[in-house]
């Protein structure tokens, strides 16, 4: 390696590292720092309060509520798109007429931004003339004007449905690729050995799709952790905090109630939770590695 090469290598590495440092490492460090203060977000004067913010978290009813919602959100945002995507992939993988067309249709929502998806579903959920209530009215013949997004017991799940609608196409495409990669002779062994369709799915197809599932779940986890924008558009965490997640709660505390110190403490906890989830995930990955290399 000559001198000039080394300079180039350093320079080319430095640029992305600087961006990463500026937009990831620095804010992260700042969050840790401010989580020990009572900063309000703009006043240059603030005090160190030790672990007071973290103490407050323990007694914050809204934090508990947001944690539960985050758990629901994450589990649903992983399970629903994964299961639906797998189901669609299994259906479309059989060379049905029109399969190509439906592949494109189901994939389309992933190309839309969360803002547009959110707006589409706000219209669908609109109480008076929204698609959902209109269909319900015609099917049941009864009057339906349920305000899906404005009722505490349906708000979170209504957003989860919209979210799954968008994410399913991605899982489907990954699973379709995975299905293509299953060697035909393994399926023929199933036929010769007398596996029922269910046994073939359970004992051969699903295990062989493990590498695809790894990718799908990883993307779902990452996307669901990032899935703040669609909630923000559709409910903003309301009504009455019923669709509040930790990210939403942190945002409200920091930027709506100007409790930057407390908001930072929430973000630190959120960060730790994310680390645990990802850590657990990587441990599972190592098992997959032994078999699929």
């Amino acid at each position: 390696m000559n001198r000039q090469n080394r300079i180039w290598r350093t320079a080319l590495l430095a640029a992305p590292l600087a961006v990463f440092g500026l937009f990831v490492v620095w804010p992260l460090m700042s969050s840790f720092y401010y989580s020990f203060t009572n900063w309000n977000g703009f006043n240059p004067n603030y005090d160190f309060v030790g672990f007071a913010n973290f103490g407050k978290i323990v007694t914050d009813r809204l934090f508990l509520n947001a944690t539960i919602n985050t758990a629901i959100w994450m589990v649903a945002a992983i399970v629903l798109p994964t299961a639906l995507g797998l189901g669609l992939a299994l259906l479309l993988d059989r060379k049905l007429p029109g399969a190509r067309f439906f592949k494109s249709v189901f994939y389309l929502p992933i190309c839309l931004s969360a803002v547009i998806v959110g707006q589409i579903w706000i219209w669908i959920y609109q109480p008076d003339w929204g698609l959902l209530n209109t269909v319900l009215r015609h099917v049941t013949g009864a009057e339906h004007n349920w305000a899906w997004l404005a009722r505490p017991n349906t708000a979170l799940w209504s957003v989860i449905v919209a979210w799954s609608w968008q994410q399913t196409g991605l899982s489907m495409v990954i699973y379709l690729a995975g299905l293509t990669g299953i060697p035909g002779d393994l399926l023929e062994v199933c036929e010769i050995e007398g596996a029922s369709p269910w046994q073939r799915l359970r004992r051969v197809v699903l295990p062989l799709l493990t590498p695809s599932t790894v990718v799908v779940v990883a993307l779902s986890v990452i996307n669901s952790l990032k899935g703040f924008d669609i909630l923000y558009i559709m409910t903003g965490g309301g009504p009455f905090n019923s669709s509040d997640t930790l990210a939403m709660h942190m945002y409200n505390e920091s930027f709506a109630k100007f409790r930057m110190g407390y908001g930072s403490a929430i973000s630190v906890v959120l960060f730790l939770i994310a680390m645990v989830v990802i850590g657990l995930y990587f441990r599972q990955l190592r098992k997959v590695d032994r078999i699929y290399g």
Binding site: P183, L186, V189, I192, E193, I291
Partner: protein, 344 residues
Amino acid sequence: MAELTLDRLRKSFGSQEVIKGLDLTIADGEFVVFVGPSGCGKSTTLRMIAGLEDVTSGAVRLAGQDVTRTRPAGRGIAMVFQSYALFPHLSVADNIGFGLSLQRLPRAEIAARVRAVAETLQLGPLLERFPRELSGGQRQRVAIGRSIIRDPRVFLFDEPLSNLDAALRVQMRLEIARLHRRLRATMIYVTHDQVEAMTLADRIVVFNEGRIEQVGSPMALYERPANRFVAGFIGAPAMNFLAPGCALLAGLAVPAGAREAGIRPEHLALVAPGDGAGGSVELIERLGPETFAHLRLPDLPDTVTLRLPGDSGVEPGTAVALRALPDRVQWFDAAGRALAATRG
């Protein structure tokens, strides 16, 4: 009893007919080898017997029963693939016991039968491993283990050894021969390897372009091929084909209608100059126990292959004279059919 009969079996993919009417009866316990050039329909035939491929017309009968429309699992056949087709996510034990576990047999019974099969295939110490932790030969033994554990009536092998190196191939060939002797099951075996075909087969079936050219014992095909195609296909190196008027055949009585003569490399001999057709050595292949010399003769378009002892000192460029053993020359008519009385 698991006698297998193919009755006017045909198969088309779209408008292309690839199997053009096969009639074949395979006796219970017989070891039959399918050979033929690439694309002639050996695998397709095997897959129709297994039920993996629909039959376009004709019938497959197993032990007197028409199984043409029976699902693969209902036929009592086992198949061993060239690719081994092992489940990568299952251990060796689970791969071998796969079929039994589908039938929900008691765990203990499956384990016992898996262990018994593994012992006979020397897989005992490997039961807990995954396929990717095995060598090619071990993988193929696992695939064979999976096929024998259900006591199938017919075994189908589609080029099972062609992914193995030469030494392993010889070893596995012996194991398959031993397996057949022990199980006495009907076996159909597809191979491109002449030695496998000759050594394993009770009977060889020679395919060509979706048809059977000839069926017979290895030595019958070798010594009395029915036509030019079989004569050229069986035997390595291949038979030499000569025009009837060439110097090498001088003095031989040409049967009526003969258009071509065939002589195997081992039925040619070097003689003193002047006693036979003259030529020069173009290329020498030394295999150890034997040597093949490729000779250029002035009146023949192709080189002639001649087998010599391993210690033959012939070098490329040497001028030689050779003769054909007269009673070993085979004659073919214009349609390529072997003419009778080629050999008394």
